[in-house]
Subunit: 358 residues, 2 copies
């Protein structure tokens, strides 16, 4: 298994002989509103500061993030994207055996294997809408040292309720199993309070919650994520890593975006609107079976069309439209794609092209 993800614009430019400005990228799940305008302005005003090292361990951002989340600084770690933190976490916990869903974000298993651990996969079934069944997770914890759950799950969009997660975390704490909840897309969903468990890290020492600022604030080029867990785990992670991993612009961005409540509201409103529009429109196309979305992406079974995901992605790419062919996800064949929710104009362009092709 390799690192395969959406959003590789450079490869698309080279492979399909496209101009970058002609590409509409549905393959990466980035807030289509773009970054808060004030952010670009602030970066422009602070360009000269790249001559200084970033603040080690992002101490200042940690303090502000703590206030924002109502958590203490000592329970937070700031990362060069959430993915860096997945690798750090695994390096510190050194699990012999990890439980990972299939399909889910591929970096969990890659991180575990990079530290010599083995991975047990729990296959999610299409008949059950790819839902993660917590009872089944519990039934599979034997000899497992760490379990990864992505909530909402990537690429399927399914959610696990907070109450169910609490049962799992509680059970796992008695079995000495670490529970990692990746909430990278939770800022996009409706009623996040019913799903997040980030506040519980003060109650359970076996819980670690991951978050990303990359997607919601549309800054994947800068890299910024964070994690919350026990003071003991966090300080082990800080000691075992490059203290400068988060660059200066990312630190600056973190401080700015957290304050922008208007942007956060507007994003949720617009995403919710476009998600419904795109989902309902996709349902009406013969051959496409979209699954109910929760964040800013939609997972689609294209098995009833005449196309494999590889071929469909290729045809669309030649037209300048990048989608996520999901065949590289463990547990999925060539019948699934994932598309980001974008602006009305872009969504319509995708829909028109899909109707024409299928």
């Amino acid at each position: 298994m390799e690192h395969i993800h959406g959003g590789n614009i450079t490869r698309a430019v080279e492979r399909y002989n496209l101009k970058e400005e002609d590409i509409i990228d549905f393959s990466a799940n980035i807030n289509f509103l773009g970054p808060p305008p004030q952010l670009l302005e602030e970066i422009r005003n602070n360009l000269a500061k790249i001559i200084h090292y970033p603040e080690p361990n992002s101490t200042t951002l940690k303090r502000k993030m703590g206030q924002y989340l109502d958590l203490e600084e000592k329970n937070l770690v700031i990362g060069n994207g959430a993915v860096e933190l997945i690798y750090q976490l695994v390096k510190v916990i050194k699990p012999d055996l990890a439980l990972v869903m299939a399909p889910t974000f591929s970096e969990y298993e890659l991180a575990v294997k990079s530290c010599g651990g083995r991975v047990k996969y729990l296959r999610l079934e299409e008949e059950k809408g790819f839902k993660i069944d917590i009872e089944e997770v519990v039934a599979n914890l034997d000899r497992v040292k760490i379990v990864f759950l992505c909530n909402p799950n990537n690429p399927t969009g399914t959610l696990i309720k907070r109450s169910e997660l609490m049962d799992l975390i509680d059970y796992a704490s008695r079995k000495d199993v670490f529970v990692i909840i990746d909430e990278a897309f939770i800022d996009f969903i409706d009623n996040p309070g019913n799903y997040t468990v980030i506040d519980l890290i003060v109650r359970y020492s076996n819980l670690f919650v991951l978050r990303s600022l990359t997607k919601f604030y549309a800054i994947p080029g800068l890299r910024l994520g964070y994690g919350a867990g026990t003071e003991e785990l966090i300080s082990k992670m800080e000691l075992a890593r490059d203290p400068w991993s988060v660059n200066f612009f990312a630190q600056l961005a973190g401080e700015i975006v957290l304050k922008d409540v208007e942007y956060q509201k507007e994003t949720r409103r617009r995403i919710s609107l476009e998600r419904e529009f795109l989902y309902n429109s996709l349902k009406k196309i013969d051959g496409l079976k979209p699954f109910p979305p929760s964040a800013n992406y939609i997972f689609i079974d294209i098995g009833a069309s005449n196309f494999s995901s590889i071929v469909l992605a290729e045809i669309l790419a030649r037209r300048g439209i990048l989608i996520r062919d999901c065949s590289s996800y463990r547990g999925l064949g060539e019948n699934y794609i994932r598309v980001a929710v974008k602006s009305r104009e872009d969504n319509c362009f995708l829909l028109d092209n899909l109707r024409e092709i299928i």
Copy 2:
């Protein structure tokens, strides 16, 4: 041992109640000319691109770097600063026992310990000018799996000749010992051809060479470094890490700065001039014993003054001058400081203050 380094401006601002613009930072070894002007311009023009993920594994920059270095892409890895690569390397090699000089850059031993390895220290002696004796290194390789050498060494500035390194690498290859040469400051020295071994990575499979773009191109806030080694080692490192660790601006910076031959020449000329000036001026201050510098920093024994390095750093900091108190380096007591070579005006300001205090 903790991560303690120079260049922590934020801490200085808070601790000494200073304004950021009033601080002159001699504690971080950054090219005082600042980044190539074209670089800031290009970043400004490309700000909007932070909405895209960085290119995974920095493939394009790798290609250009390969042309610049006359090495193949497959032998190169681009890192989020050289420090990220130190951690990646250790993670992949998993050494039981590492040989590390004392004093030297502290992240080698921290990286080894973060992966559960032990460290054997080779004490460099002041009587020998802190020179690294290759015969002594060879005599200490028993049961060692990896040896780290920093060339020029940080903080002492001592150099090891290419011919001596070749003897070591050759001997180590027969004993199955990895040799890591950290050339983070080699771009600053005169006649780098007499010291670098980067071209030898195609000849020795036990050699890995680290370089930094952070210091020479004055972009520590962006983070950018690279490493050269065998295809086998490089591909293991790429698999075991976050594919997006290098942010978009750093990738952009890498492509721009490598082409700027004028800036490279001008930097070497100016640094060489100021290095001589600062070294000769420091020699004339009673109580200070500077060691012959090679890069853009000067290591100083202040034992004959009435100050410990901690106290001297504190007094200077209150005046807005940050220096590197070297007491946190393994093997050094409270008698050593390190200062960066800066502009004539800044150097004179430091000298005036040192004369006044001592």
